[in-house]
Homo-oligomer: 255 residues x 2
């Protein structure tokens, strides 16, 4: 069976308080797509954060002494560094323009995932506004899932994704930051290979692979489409969580 | 437009000397798929390596002193460690069972990508055989591309992928190790975002995102299908190379 990823056209600009399930049900109609059981909907983090009001006016942020010092070291805006510190549980590396952190959500990423593009504030001087990641993306995904089930009667998977850099490869790739109703990891332990030997590589980051696939069709910026409909995910849907994908600190090869 | 990934069924077990272009043209017919311009074919590293005879009989490998020591430290087979050393330009980290290296091809990966599953030798005691990565995967991809163009008249992209672990996330994901006829990185520099600001994140690892997508549908092991047909890649095809994805050492945050 084919895996089919369809970006939904016609999604309006999302504002604080918008109901994403309503928006998506409408967009599915516009795109003449009827949900089926086991479909997955992938959301760009940005619109989930916007709907949840995670936009911050930099004019309201007073940087701490630590933020001022780190801003000088990394050549960044001290107010943004202050937000990075608030959103992170640990600073792991710094480079000019980049602060690699353990985000309070548990994953490692640059600049705590704080996004400075495609954010408008209350009208003027939009350069002064930034967007934080959703407070609890697994919970956001679960709420969207329940609302879509209530509205359509269909059980679907919901994936919230962001774009992350990699330590040793160029370019960003889509990764999962919130999961409801699909596996984060697929455990292949114990399945025999073609010649009957037990497989050594046992766990596949299937939610991250799907995130990368969806990111590819979302595009970026002005042409971007922030929701992707997925049909043909090759594993059974089940309860799932971002936590499956977080490597315990003592097994992290980066630290 | 949708991105459609179709795993090709009926690919036979590949042996040294098999012509992969022939195999794929046959498989496309079996799967009732006609190539179109701008389609992409994604190959699991394993079948490219097999076709190129990159299988090694461990009985022929004499471990060096350094391999014996590293094998003791990492609790691995000294003959496999010897091959890891031969295939690598630098050892970056060691853990029980895992040696993180810079592969001679330039990327960072575990155990030099040496694969111990789904390898058969010349009949008996297949546990004694392992598979190395293709010698020059970009070149392998380019040769397959030229042969497919000669056989079908269609210009397609060719991507060779492997599964890699990540430093700070659980589970493997598909990544590009050989590229012909498609971009490795897509540069979005200078494109304005929705509100007219210049984008800060400028480069997307599109070949890695496609590798992850294809890996998802390839599955693993006995049920695996080692070639995936891709339609609807959202960027124009062009010349490309794995080198685009390799972060220069001095910008590598891991080292």
């Amino acid at each position: 069976m084919s895996l089919i990823l369809t970006p939904l056209s016609g999604i309006p600009l999302i504002r604080h308080g918008d109901n994403l399930a309503d928006v998506i049900v409408q967009a599915l109609q516009t795109n003449k797509l009827a949900l089926e059981e086991n479909d997955i909907l992938v959301f760009a983090q940005k619109i989930v954060s916007k709907a949840e009001g995670r936009v911050v006016n930099l004019a309201t942020v007073t940087p701490s002494q630590r933020a001022v010092e780190l801003a000088r070291e990394t050549e960044k805006d001290a107010r943004i560094v202050e937000l990075v510190l608030r959103e992170s549980s640990e600073i792991l590396r710094t480079r000019p323009g980049t602060i690699i952190v353990e985000h309070r959500l548990g994953f490692v990423c640059a600049n705590a995932g704080i996004d400075h593009s495609n954010v408008s504030g209350e009208g003027n001087n939009a350069e002064e506004w930034v967007l934080l990641l959703p407070k609890e993306p697994d919970r956001s995904a679960e709420m969207i899932r329940q609302e879509i089930e209530a509205k359509t009667g269909k059980q679907v998977g919901i994936l919230i994704i962001d774009s992350h850099g990699r330590a040793w490869r160029n370019g960003t790739v889509g990764v999962a930051i919130g999961i409801a109703g699909l596996p984060g990891l697929q455990d292949l332990r114990g399945k025999p290979d073609l010649f009957g030997f037990t497989l050594r590589i046992t766990q596949v980051g299937v939610a991250d692979e799907l995130a990368a696939a969806a990111s590819l069709v979302m595009g970026q910026a002005a042409e971007g489409t922030p929701v992707v409909h997925v049909r043909g995910f090759p594993y059974p849907l089940r309860e799932g969580s971002l936590k499956e994908l977080l490597r315990p600190k003592d097994q992290d090869l980066f630290r």
